[in-house]
Homo-oligomer: 330 residues x 2
């Protein structure tokens, strides 16, 4: 029996890279049915997805999302932030693994950023206290700290990881980041087989750049996770090559977090790898391991081979040529 | 005539690395007089420097500070944060320039992080709103945005820099980071010769790692600056090789921001380079360019030569041996 998956292709290059995934899933007969979610067209003053459509997303449980344009300014909330908040997708998981055939600073990076995904500076609470002074609330709750910490250790246990590092700035945010550390430390006690350490987020970023092998699984508050996951992606060739999953109690949305690249949209030039790798994470989440392994092998094969490369990787292949090369290896 | 400089040697390896600077300044007859500031011994519940001593720091205008231990938890404020706040040192300047002889990922990095240094999440305002939920205030004021933006463009103009990049997360913190962008953009209009761009801080960090040559002078809110300056330092060999200056209207404190390394304290093993480079920044701030150039040339000479290296750089020289090697090149 097939699983219904919410499909949110996104905008810009979104539809093209999403089509690539659909074609590859078809070719390997992955047992999923795509349920395309309608986005609100007039975003002014309202949410990017209507209450009816979000109910479909909720009912489907699992979804795949292509890149979406982030609105800057105005009253708009980004689609990513909206979905994470609406579905309480409390853990953002970003594995960062060196991709064969893509030459970067280090060739054996294997890191996982697990980011608290619902609060911190992302609570969206801001106001002008007196003219010219803005107060932005950073919220840290025991509940959110506990659940993301548990997820991090569970993830480490499940995938045979050796160490969890908690990144923080508790010397400055003594109460907020202090609470995050306290809860993570507490959870860690239940996983004696997994190493645990705490690092200042600034120091940790310097260490990551100088020697990424010092870390394994890293768990942290929202904003730090946003930055750290991009630092990690930068080490292995950018957001075009890194998958991402947003995990909640009942729902999970996997997404490509790179930009929607409006300049090359519709030109059949986009690289679908990030969304493909995200879809592979999704298949594993659905316990469809065979399909996941098969597609992953094909993607890695094509990248390692280096013959059919999209322009961002220095090649000249179109999105469809790259997709076909993967399909021919399935 | 000599200038009186507040001397805050710090703890751990602080006194040793500070002595190195004092010896080198003596050798080159730099016209400064050190005014050693007494730190409060019992830090419990009170500030790390007494009101009387802070008045001396204020009156001296310029100071040099070695590494200090950052208290975690309790009611303590870190010495760095205390001085920045107390003296309204609104701009934290961290040049990150590849050091000759130290092999790192890139060998021609030349970046300057200019960080807002008085507010943001560092305002220190936190409270528990309901049990288990902490609210931390991130403050962004027009005044603080304006002065740090002005400093960034003035710095770029003075040192012949080509571009200022403002890092932000205005898609999420629309009002707060939005205000920062608005003010920086406004100030930028007065400097038509200097390029200006805006980047999401997460994206920018990924770009910095993948290609640090994309940036020049970077200006940003407090917390981002804390992280970005460590990312930059990681690119050139760490905080042990990067200077820092805290600039205010009336005061300026130059400091080494690496840890106080209590494990090797008192063993004559510490590398004084970060404090030395900070003292060179200080000399330039005092318009003592000849002394600055002379010391800088000697430090670079010793590092490039690679014969007398401290342990952190893979050598076996003691702090005093390294200091003597520099003095012999003056
Ligand atoms: C688009 C933006 C709001 C989002 C974030 O900050 O979370 C993005 O940067 C990400 O990392 O998924
Ligand atoms: C010690 C700490 C409070 C400080 C900061 O976060 O500013 C340090 O990391 C720095 O960068 O100078």
């Amino acid at each position: 029996s097939s699983t219904k998956i919410s499909a949110i292709p996104g905008d810009g290059i979104g539809p093209e890279v999403f089509q690539s995934v659909v074609d590859i899933f078809d070719a390997t007969q992955a047992p999923v049915i795509w349920d395309v979610i309608k986005l609100s067209t007039k975003m002014e003053g309202k949410d990017p997805i209507s209450p009816e459509e979000i109910e479909k997303v909720r009912a489907n449980k699992v979804g795949l999302k292509g890149p979406t344009t982030t609105p800057i300014g105005g009253g708009h909330v980004s689609m990513n932030v909206f979905l994470r908040r609406e579905l309480t997708l409390y853990a953002n998981v970003r594995p960062c693994v060196s991709v064969p055939g893509v030459k970067t600073l280090y060739d054996d990076v294997n890191l996982v950023t697990i980011r608290e995904n619902t609060e911190g500076e992302y609570s969206g609470k801001e106001h002008e206290v007196v003219p010219g002074v803005i107060e932005n609330l950073k919220i840290v709750s025991e509940k959110a700290c506990l659940r993301v910490a548990k997820y991090a250790f569970e993830y480490a246990a499940k995938y045979g990881r050796k160490k969890v590092s908690a990144f923080h700035k508790a010397s400055v945010m003594k109460m907020g980041d202090g609470l995050f550390l306290k809860k993570t430390r507490e959870v860690g006690k239940d996983y004696p087989m997994i190493g645990y350490e705490e690092r200042n987020v600034d120091t940790a970023c310097g260490m990551l750049v100088a020697n990424p092998h010092l870390f394994d699984v890293m768990v942290m508050p929202n904003l730090y996770g946003d930055i750290v996951s991009d630092v990690c992606a930068g080490l292995i060739g950018g957001l075009g090559l890194t998958p991402s999953g947003n995990i909640g109690e009942n729902n999970a949305i996997f997404e490509a977090v790179h930009g929607s690249a409006p300049d090359i949209a519709g030109k059949n030039l986009a690289n679908p790898t990030a969304l493909l790798l995200s879809s592979i994470m999704m298949l594993r989440h659905l316990n469809l391991f065979d399909h996941a392994d098969k597609i992953e092998k094909a993607v890695h094969g094509v990248l390692k081979d280096g013959v059919t490369k999209t322009r961002d990787l220095g090649g000249s292949a179109t999105t469809t040529e790259y997709t076909k090369a993967i399909i021919s290896r399935l």
